[in-house]
C-alpha cells in the first residue's frame, strides 16, 4: 500500500507502490512469454485439419453414442462387482500397511528420527508421485492382467496418501493426554492404544473413507491398462468402436461415482 504525492502536493492512495507495480508487470510479462513459447512448441506437431474437423467428429460420436445399448448391462454386473472390490480391498490393504508407516514417519512416535523417519517419508513420497494407472501398467506387465494387479495398484498408490495425512494427524495430537497415560505407568503399547489412537481415530476414519471414494473413481478406469473392472469393458468397447456400449459404461461409471460420493458424505457426517 502506498500514498503517492502528486507534483501539485495532493496525496492519493494506491494499492501498490510503483516498485511493486513494476515487479508485478514483469511477472505477468514473463508468464505470457512462457505460455506463448510453450504453446508454439506444443502445437508444432498439431494437425490443424483434425482440430477444425473436431465439431463434426464430436457430433458423429455423440450421434453414435445415443441411445445407449441398455441390454449390455447384463454383461457388466461382474465388472461392476470387480470395480468395487478393487477399490475396497485396495483401500483395506493400504490402510493396514499405511498405519504402521505413519507411526514410523510421525516425528513424535518414530523410533528413530535419523534413520527410520527418512525411509518412511521416502516410501510415502514415492507411492504418492506415481499415479494408480501407472502402477497398474507396471503390475499388469509383472503379474499379468486381472483384478489382482488392480487391487495392488490401488493399494500402492493409497499407501502414500493415507500415510501422509495420517502422520500429519499424529504429529498434531495433544501431548498432554499421552503424558497423562504415561503417568499412570502405562507401557509403550498402552500409551499408543489409550493416549494416541483415540485422538487420531476421527482423522483416520475420514481419511480412509475419503481415499475409498477416490479409489472408486480410479478403479473404474484401471481396466484401461488391463487391471480388471469396468475399464476393461470400456477398453473392449472402444477398440470395437461400439459407441452405444461406451455411453452405457460411462453412464454406469457416473452413477457409481455419485453413489460412492453420497456414501462418503453420509459416513463423514456420522463420524464428525
Amino acid at each position: 500500500m502506498a500514498i503517492l504525492i502528486n507534483p501539485d502536493g495532493a496525496r492519493h492512495w494506491r494499492l501498490l507502490t510503483p516498485g511493486q507495480q513494476r515487479w508485478r508487470w514483469m511477472a505477468w510479462l514473463a508468464l505470457v512469454a512462457l505460455t506463448v513459447f510453450c504453446w508454439r512448441i506444443m502445437t508444432a506437431d498439431t494437425i490443424w485439419a483434425f482440430v477444425s474437423d473436431a465439431p463434426r467428429q464430436a457430433q458423429d460420436i455423440f450421434g453414435r453414442m445415443l441411445p445407449p445399448r441398455w441390454v449390455y448391462i447384463n454383461q457388466l454386473w461382474k465388472a461392476i462387482w470387480d470395480t468395487i472390490n478393487i477399490a475396497t480391498l485396495g483401500t483395506l490393504i493400504a490402510i493396514v500397511l499405511a498405519t504402521p508407516l505413519a507411526f514410523l514417519a510421525a516425528r513424535n512416535t518414530t523410533p528413530s528420527a535419523l534413520f527410520i523417519r527418512p525411509v518412511a517419508l521416502f516410501i510415502i513420497v514415492a507411492s504418492r508421485s506415481i499415479n494408480a494407472l501407472i502402477w497398474g501398467l507396471l503390475l499388469v506387465a509383472v503379474l499379468g492382467p486381472g483384478v489382482l494387479a488392480g487391487i495392488i495398484a490401488i493399494a500402492l498408490r493409497s499407501i502414500g496418501f493415507i500415510g501422509k495425512l495420517l502422520y500429519e494427524a499424529i504429529e498434531e495430537i495433544d501431548e498432554t493426554q499421552v503424558e497423562a497415560i504415561r503417568a499412570t505407568g502405562a507401557g509403550q503399547a498402552q500409551v499408543m492404544s489409550y493416549g494416541i489412537w483415540p485422538q487420531i481415530l476421527p482423522a483416520f476414519a475420514t481419511i480412509s473413507v475419503f481415499r475409498w471414494d477416490i479409489n472408486i473413481r480410479e478403479s473404474t478406469v484401471l481396466g484401461l491398462v488391463g487391471a480388471g473392472g469396468l475399464g476393461l469393458a470400456l477398453e473392449g468397447s472402444l477398440n470395437t468402436l461400439a459407441w452405444p456400449q461406451v455411453s452405457l459404461i460411462l453412464l454406469i461409471i457416473l452413477v457409481t461415482v455419485v453413489i460412492s460420493e453420497w456414501i462418503t458424505a453420509k459416513v463423514r457426517k456420522i463420524i464428525i
Partner: protein, 268 residues
Amino acid sequence: MTATAGPARIWKRPRLVEQTWLRWAISLSVLLYLGLAFGSIDVNWTRVSEGLVRAARLFSGFLQPDFKSRWGDIQQGLIESLTMTVCATVFGLILALPIGLGAARNVAPFWLYGICRAIIALARAFQEIIVAILFVAMFGFGTFAGFLTLSVSTIGFLSKLIADDIEEIDPAQVEAIRATGGGFWQVMDYAVASQVMPRFVGLTAYKVDINFRESSVIGIVGAGGIGATLNTALDRYEFDSAAAILLIIIGIVMLCEYASGWIRKAMA
C-alpha cells in the same frame, strides 16, 4: 477418596457401537463381504510366478536405470508433458476465473449461478483419462487432445475452489468498498480479489503440480506426453528405460511439490 468395601470396579473404554446385536451384525456382514470379494478374485498363479522374474528385472531396472538408449523419446515426451501442463494451466485459469466468479452465490445473480455450477459439475464429472479418450477420438492423437483434457480438469478444479472461496469472504469489506461508491469492478478488485488472491495463487501452483502428474498418465490413451513414452517402453518390456522415465517423473513431481509448497507458504 475413601476406601469402600465391595467388588472391585474396573473401567473399560466405551465401545464404538453401543448395541451388541448391531456390533455382531456389522462384523458378520463385513466378514461375509470380504469372503465373497476374495473368493471372486481368480489368480493365475503360474502367470504370477512367471511374473516374479519380470518383477526382479523391473527392480534391477530401477537400480540401473537406462537414461541413454531412449533419451530422444524421453526428451520429446518430457517437453510435450511440460508444455502441455503450462498451456493447460494458463488456459484453464483464464476460463476458470469468470466461471468461478459466476458460481459464487454472493456475487452472481441466480441464473448465472445455476449455469456456472452446471459447467463445473460437467467438467468434474469424469476422470481425466476418460475425457482424454473422448478428446483423442475427436481431435486425433497428440498433445492437443491432452492440452484440452487438462484444461477441462483445470476449469473444474479451480473454478469450484474459487467459487467456494469467494462465498466465504468477509462481506464487511465488500460493504465498505461499496459504501465509498465503488462500482462492480472496483468491488471485485479491492474487496473480493484482495481477500481470495493468496489462496488462489496457492491453488494454481498446486494445480500445476497435479496437471503434470496427469499429463504423465493421459499419454496411455494417446494424448501425448511422457505417458506415451512410458507405455511404449513397458510394451517393449524395456524395464530399464521405463525405470528411468519413472525416476524422472518422481523427480519432477517432487520438485513441483516443493515449489508449490514454497509458493503457498510465501503467499500465506
